[in-house]
Symmetry: C2
Subunit: 324 residues, 2 copies
């Protein structure tokens, strides 16, 4: 189309290939296996391409999310808007470097979102398979965007209730990250309503548990592991269940620390101690345990083909277990 467009496409390519845990394609793949999809069958390659397109949706979500949150680091590298702002500055181009970085991030995220659809529909799947998965595909993208919007709105309103945090978790992580990918995979293989309901119940619970574990990592995690500065979620003012319970239980230091862009390590340590002391960490750990249990029960009750049942149970446990 135009030679200059390559710099946008390269940035997207680097972003997608540069890291990430491939969680959504993994769940979609195992949803397909759960409904009897054959990894040595003739559609396996096409299914692998189709589920991989979820990484492009996630690229859009992250690139736009980093822009909205003004995050400067992702996976240990500058975020897209920061990198393009820096490029603008280095070249001494006209206008505001910040605005240029913002524009590039908006457009590169848009490209990822449009190409996710293109990748899915060009995967070579039969029309009938595409038709069956159109509902979860559609709902997944909308739930992701609704979750992002709700997140932005909740932060603006200063709604730090546990209820608001859980509503966001249900849409942004549970539905978009686990439930719908499983649904999509199972629908591709023509899974029964019973199987799909079971997988969705599993996904809805394990997805929230997964987010709660991530929230704990966002406050307590090692920057080497998370790729983000220590206490980044606190500095960003992220309204998580952990934070909501911390406030509710009287960890007053949160009022001072939350949303402070220049949060020092000492204050982060103080918040950590307070969250443990008031019992917020224990309460979140307990919730993770309950959700993991109910997820595993739903999985157990569903007619899931092996080895998917074992694999999904392993994923559930490994993605929600304590890591510190």
């Amino acid at each position: 189309m135009d030679r200059s467009f390559a710099s946008a496409v390269d940035a997207l390519s680097d972003f997608v290939l540069g890291g990430g845990k491939r969680i959504r394609p993994t769940y979609a793949w195992w949803g397909w296996r759960a409904a009897g999809g054959d990894p040595d069958g003739e559609l396996a390659d096409e299914v692998l391409t189709a589920v991989s397109s979820l990484e492009l949706i996630q690229a859009c979500a992250l690139i736009h999310d980093d822009l909205m949150d003004a995050s400067s680091v992702r996976r240990g590298k500058p975020t897209v808007h920061i990198a393009f702002g820096a490029r603008h500055r280095e070249h001494g181009w006209l206008g505001s470097s910040e605005r240029f970085g913002m524009s590039a991030a908006v457009l590169i995220g848009d490209i990822a979102l449009a190409w996710a659809d293109d990748m899915l529909f060009a995967a070579g799947l039969p029309a009938e398979v595409l038709r069956r998965m159109s509902e979860p595909w559609r709902d997944m993208r909308t739930e992701m965007l609704a979750g992002q919007y709700l997140d932005v709105l909740t932060q603006a309103r200063g709604d730090s209730s546990a209820d608001a945090a859980l509503r966001i978790d249900r849409l942004k992580t549970a539905a978009y990250t686990v439930e719908r990918p499983l649904h999509m995979g199972a629908a591709m293989a023509g899974g029964s309503p019973e199987l799909i309901d079971g997988l969705r119940a599993f996904g809805a619970d394990i997805g929230v548990a997964f987010q709660l574990r991530d929230d704990l990592l966002g406050v307590f995690g090692d920057p080497e592991v998370t790729g983000k500065p220590a206490g980044d979620d606190l500095a960003e003012g992220k309204r998580t269940l952990l934070v909501a319970l911390g406030m509710q239980f009287g960890a007053d230091i949160l009022d001072i620390a939350l949303g402070k862009p220049d949060l020092d390590l000492e204050t982060v340590e103080e918040v950590r101690r307070a969250l443990v002391k008031v019992g917020a960490v224990d309460a979140v750990e307990e919730r993770i345990e309950e959700l993991t249990k109910s997820a595993l029960a739903a999985l157990d009750a569903a007619p899931v083909a092996e080895p998917a049942a074992t694999k999904l149970a392993d994923l559930a446990i490994s993605s929600t277990k304590r890591t510190f």
Copy 2:
């Protein structure tokens, strides 16, 4: 999904239903008719739904474009990022109103882009029809985004050459607005390669002509008609062919006026006089005439069914004719 999401969806709905010339659906519809699509046939409603989804792509393009250009007015109303920033301010919400407006505009544009695909694929068209139109659908979305990116990059680089302006026009307007919608429509009806090539040649030329007319309106147009302040394109620093030729021909006032956010009417008038005097307006008018002629010749040579041939010729003339 969540009650609060309604405010985003309402804003998108108001935006799409609140105005616009429906140019892209119109061209797609007449592309379909050109290839023999029957307006009283059984697929007509489904085709109408499918081509209407182009308005959602355009909503994404405009909402994100207004954000990137920091435009405050669109169709006589506040742009989405401005409206949401104002809502934030009125409610006295937390954080920066500007950032909230930006976030809302990013997400509402994303919703429009995702829903365009959903609307197309839920239109009820047979799988074979969807398959035939997948190539122009894919290329159209990428050409739009590539054109936007090239536009941002060209402005940053300060490239005010006529060549750069025409490259952007070819992608952003010609391909995305006329050529691909015609291609998509004709492909839906199973048009021959000969017909599709003819329609695309017509669309590529008339699309550029249409953009050049729009560029003239952006500088000379009546705010009552354009819905934008007088000389808005100049204040935004838009690098159009008109501006490129004006600079090339020695309208030095452009160096002062271009990209000045607080441009006064007197300077706008001065720029107008200079563009006429140096011959830039005549050169652009001449180019519009040439492109319209070659477009009509391509249309004439293509095996276009009536009444589409007459209708497309009328559209070509009415969308490129002098209006002042």
